[in-house]
């Protein structure tokens, strides 16, 4: 089989992409695959050589699908009423630009497009919309302290389950001290 891209060299990479049941087959020679790989961005370099359908592509498809679904309805209700396109007032990125690339322009975009993004988070992150992990110490002391406290409470439960009561008692004292500090800070602010 001859490479579909250059039409010269024999194809050595064959892959099949299935999106919503629509099947696309691609047969490329190594050199063309490499070129395509370099222009598509992925986590691992090798994967890009196969032009993998990445999660970002999927996201972009999801967003566009959303738009095409709702665009039809909106047009019927509001014929030709040119509303200002949804835009981030910090960096100037429009929501439409975002749906094309799947990339946001700045931290403020998360607020500017909040209403549209929340359903996307649900879909991409198994229904979750809140971060429960690490918090930077700097500028977020309160939440950071809260997380530390939660983590210690989680550990104490494990210690009690394993009947390591001495260690659990030590940890309990630590938690009490932390809680006092925490309350002190609450009252200050």
């Amino acid at each position: 089989m001859i490479c579909q891209n250059c039409g010269q060299r024999p194809a050595s990479l064959h892959y099949t992409k299935i999106v919503n049941g629509a099947k696309t087959e691609l047969h490329l020679c190594e050199e063309c695959a490499k070129e395509q790989g370099e222009s598509s961005e992925t986590e691992h370099s090798f994967m890009s050589a196969a032009g993998g359908y990445t999660i970002q592509d999927l996201l972009s498809d999801l967003l566009n699908m959303d738009q095409s679904n709702t665009a039809g309805n909106a047009e019927k209700k509001q014929p030709k009423k040119a509303a200002r396109p949804l835009t981030c007032d910090n960096c100037g990125l429009t929501y439409k630009q975002f749906t094309k690339t799947g990339r946001l322009g700045c931290a403020h975009c998360y607020h500017a497009f909040e209403s549209k993004l929340t359903p996307v988070f649900r879909r991409v992150h198994s229904g979750n919309t809140n971060h429960t992990g690490k918090v930077p110490k700097h500028r977020h002391e309160k939440l950071h302290a809260q997380r530390e406290l939660d983590e210690k409470k989680r550990q104490i439960n494990i210690l009690v389950q394993n009947e390591e009561f001495e260690k659990a008692a030590e940890l309990r004292d630590e938690i009490r001290t932390l809680e006092k500090q925490f309350q002190g800070r609450e009252e200050d602010s």
Binding site: R9, S12, L13, H14, Y15, T16, K17, E30, E31, K34, G37, E38, S39, S40, E41, T42, E43, H44, S45, M47, S48, A49, A50, G52, Y53, I55, Q56, L59, C91, L93, Q97, T101, G102, R103, L104, G105, C106, A107, Y110, L117, V120, F121, V124, H125, S126, G127, N128, T129, N130, H131, T132, G133, K134, V135, P136, K137, H138, R139, H140, L143
Partner: protein
């Protein structure tokens, strides 16, 4: 130049330590954290000027403080030769995307290449830690430490509800992608992998071929990683991933044993045929090399082939990539020339072991 070894040595020092935990199947572990710096526009839509400013600011700030994490060296992408950039990609030290935007991008590397910090990738910072074998917790702890250090010197874009804010909403929250590279020849041959994959996907994890997609992965090398970054803590993500990877490893071991039991001669035939071809052929494509090397690696792990180190797979997989072949040749190569060089490199490497 002090940084020469980043390009001339195919194997990162952290890989040479010999096999890590579960090293018969798990080749390497990687944890990366995506971080952005407050007030600056994200790289994808940033102006040339904003990108240049951020690059200067972030790399000088981090380099000035780098004693705390071991000495780091900065490589600006636009100052490297094309071959050198390609070698960094093949060693997984930088992403293809970093090179695409090479005018204002850089990577900070430590001496043994177990730490890589990309500046102006899709996010301002991509902190990455690598280690051999299956070492998810260790790798995360290292990344966490690196992150604490970077955060002490830079202010991150962070939202108390959404977590670390990233250019792509698929990374928001922890900004973490943890992955383990596993060699699964027996699960592929026995067609079991295609049955396991849906179950893994349901757990919010992703399995990808390192070369190619799904079950067509070349060299039977796969990367198992988390997909979800919002809603679960880093520790839980690591723990869930660890559990699944361990199960996959157990299944692979089991499949290897039953292959040995039920079709030992067939298996031996395949392994030794590949060994012979690698040792004597004069031209070899990337695809064939990957698959033959996978066979030989399995032979080594099952003690069918003795006296060769298992590292030969990881090492030759890298050495036979186009960038490395060109780096050694010192010139650009046609496909045919590359195939000839590839066969030479493999033959010589195998002879060294005999």
């Amino acid at each position: 130049m002090a940084s020469e070894h980043f390009f001339s040595e195919a194997i990162s020092p952290w890989m040479q330590e010999g096999p890590g935990p579960e090293g018969d199947i798990a080749l390497s572990t990687r944890v990366r954290l995506a971080r952005n710096i407050e007030q600056y526009p994200f790289p994808v839509f940033a102006s040339e000027e904003a990108s240049a400013t951020l690059l200067r600011y972030a790399s000088s700030t981090l380099l000035n403080q780098s004693e705390e994490v071991g000495s780091l060296e900065a490589l600006n992408m636009n100052e490297l030769r094309p071959n050198e950039r390609q070698v960094l990609v093949e060693k997984h030290l930088v992403s293809p995307y970093l090179i695409k935007n090479m005018e204002h991008s850089a990577v900070l590397l430590n001496n043994d290449e177990s730490i890589s910090i990309m500046v102006n990738e899709e996010d301002h910072l991509r902190l990455q830690c690598l280690s051999n074998g299956m070492q998810l917790e260790e790798c995360y702890n290292e990344a966490d430490r690196l992150d604490d250090w970077a955060e002490a010197n830079l202010t991150y874009a962070f939202d108390e509800r959404l977590g670390y804010l990233t250019s792509c909403p698929t990374n928001v929250g922890t900004g973490m992608r943890a992955s383990v590279m596993v060699h699964l020849p027996a699960l592929v041959w026995t067609n079991q992998l295609s049955r396991i994959l849906p179950a893994i996907h349901q757990l919010g994890l992703v399995v990808r071929g390192i070369y190619g997609e799904g079950s067509e992965a070349l060299g039977n090398l796969f990367q198992i990683s988390n997909q979800m970054t919002l809603g679960k803590s880093e520790k839980d993500i690591i723990e869930d991933l660890r559990g699944v990877v361990m199960q996959v490893i157990q299944r692979e071991r089991h499949a290897r044993e039953s292959l040995l039991g039920s079709s030992r001669v067939k298996l031996e035939d395949r392994v030794f045929r590949s060994y012979g071809i690698l040792a004597y052929s004069r031209m070899m494509t990337t695809k064939e090399a990957a698959n033959r090397l996978s066979d030989v690696r399995l032979g080594i792990d099952l003690d069918l082939i003795k006296g060769i180190s298992g590292n030969i797979l990881n090492e030759l997989m890298l050495l036979t990539q186009p960038g490395f072949l060109e780096q050694y040749a010192g010139e650009s190569l046609t496909q045919e020339e590359a195939d000839i060089r590839r066969a030479n490199v493999i033959r010589e490497r195998i002879k060294l072991e005999l």
